[in-house]
Symmetry: C2
Amino acid sequence: MKPFWDGQPEISRDLACVREMIARCAAAEDADVHAAISQLLSASGKMLRPAFVLLASRFGAPDRDRILRIAAAVEMLHMATLVHDDIIDGAHFRRGVATLNAAKGPRTAVLVGDWLFASCFSLIADIARTENARALSHMVARICAGEIGQSADRFTVHTSRRRYLRRITGKTAALFSLSFYVGAVESGCSEEVQSILRRLGFCVGMCFQIVDDILDFSPGASDIGKPAGSDLVQGVLTLPTILALRADDGGLAKIIRKGPLSRRAAARAARMVGARGGIDAARLEAETYTRRAQREIQRLPPSEARDVLAEVTTRLLNRTW
Amino acid sequence: MKPFWDGQPEISRDLACVREMIARCAAAEDADVHAAISQLLSASGKMLRPAFVLLASRFGAPDRDRILRIAAAVEMLHMATLVHDDIIDGAHFRRGVATLNAAKGPRTAVLVGDWLFASCFSLIADIARTENARALSHMVARICAGEIGQSADRFTVHTSRRRYLRRITGKTAALFSLSFYVGAVESGCSEEVQSILRRLGFCVGMCFQIVDDILDFSPGASDIGKPAGSDLVQGVLTLPTILALRADDGGLAKIIRKGPLSRRAAARAARMVGARGGIDAARLEAETYTRRAQREIQRLPPSEARDVLAEVTTRLLNRTW
């Protein structure tokens, strides 16, 4: 794991417990599942979603073991979508490590993703309050539908900003929002605090995904384990491209419309996106969501957790990986 | 749908409602999901699992709408595993129709399977009793682990009868058992009847899968939409092969151990399985499960539903498709 939570020893320790819990859950299964999950865990990223479950729970009176399990379930759900995304994208690397799909083939990747999905639901059904179990189930359906929408939009230059925002709501912001929300509900926060945290999660998720999509254009993006411009190669139009197309003379649209892009064509298109101001404009949108997030944070009761959230939100906007 | 339930107009009508419910659920999503689900539904098979939910519920006092939804959830779960199985097997046809994977590519197949999984959990979380939601979630994890086990065993001539039975428990009998059980629990059957129906579902599921695996060897197996011997081509050793290997002089084992089999080698191996008595021996095991199922049925309170179960159980043993 990259040292994103190094300044927060308590969160770091809890996230280590979450990883251990997931590994233990996999250890009860066949050796292949265990090996695959261990590999995924060793390359786990910032673990933002479980961290947000933990942070949100601090605004109530959390039962630590219960919250850790819910955090584990949320991370397993995220892992499932990553594993299946890698099959869909035919990706060979993620975070600098060979994907399960590349290392073990689609057979294992499909099954391990399904196992993660199912285990997440098992964990949630066992421990969560009924309303949380429902919210989580609906969320997953929504996330899948979001992914299918992204799939349908490929190589379509008419993808609108609005359609993009709706897509990333389903793909990312919904799960961020849910992470905050389940943490709040399970620790017995007041309804007002639950609502603030749910909206905060949404804004953080939107900002996170827009920044992620911007980083895909930066030459240093290999830090996050993907080659630069990989979205364009896949034909996925993200906010910088969509906003650049508004200032386009037709040259950029022409490249994209052709269908599957070569690495070279994608790099050229990526430069055109920058030259047409798409990256700067997308950055402004990310900043807007960060400001909305900070306003929600100010409405929370003052506490150490609140300070951590304020700091992390700014750091997520300014990150380079 | 093949006319398996033609003699049961009420079940046929209810199954039509189940299909409609699933279609409606998909219609609320993006057009691609809707098209994919419609295609899957048009090629739906005997719909045994939802039919068993419905039949089991008749031993209690079912709330029809609620039971139909649960039946739909169970069928969606089954559809999800079929769609993902087709990716894993690289299958081009199922029940004579092009698989989603072949028609639309793995991208759509992965996502549609995930959407079905998630929608099943949503339905269940919304309506089922908490204990049923839990049982179902655990079951799915178990089914996935069963599939991964099958994957790990490919081309292994040492797969034992016991290991095979454990594998099909996870792969098939668990969901059959659950279908009977949720029908019973949700309609408020006594604990004794719940237990009988759960065990009955297990026996019917075991018999069903063994017969399915026998049919894979029969020349007329193309009726079920797969070419004969397709399990052997995939390197999956089922009961007839496992039992034939006990009477093998080494010739059959040698072919299998070589790894991926050509169509011709698989056909030769399939003939050897028959010649070594593997199919007859597997048939005896299927009959044993049918007898156990009939004993459980006799313990149920006399009713029309009981007569239907007795008739269907025998028909499943003797089916040729």
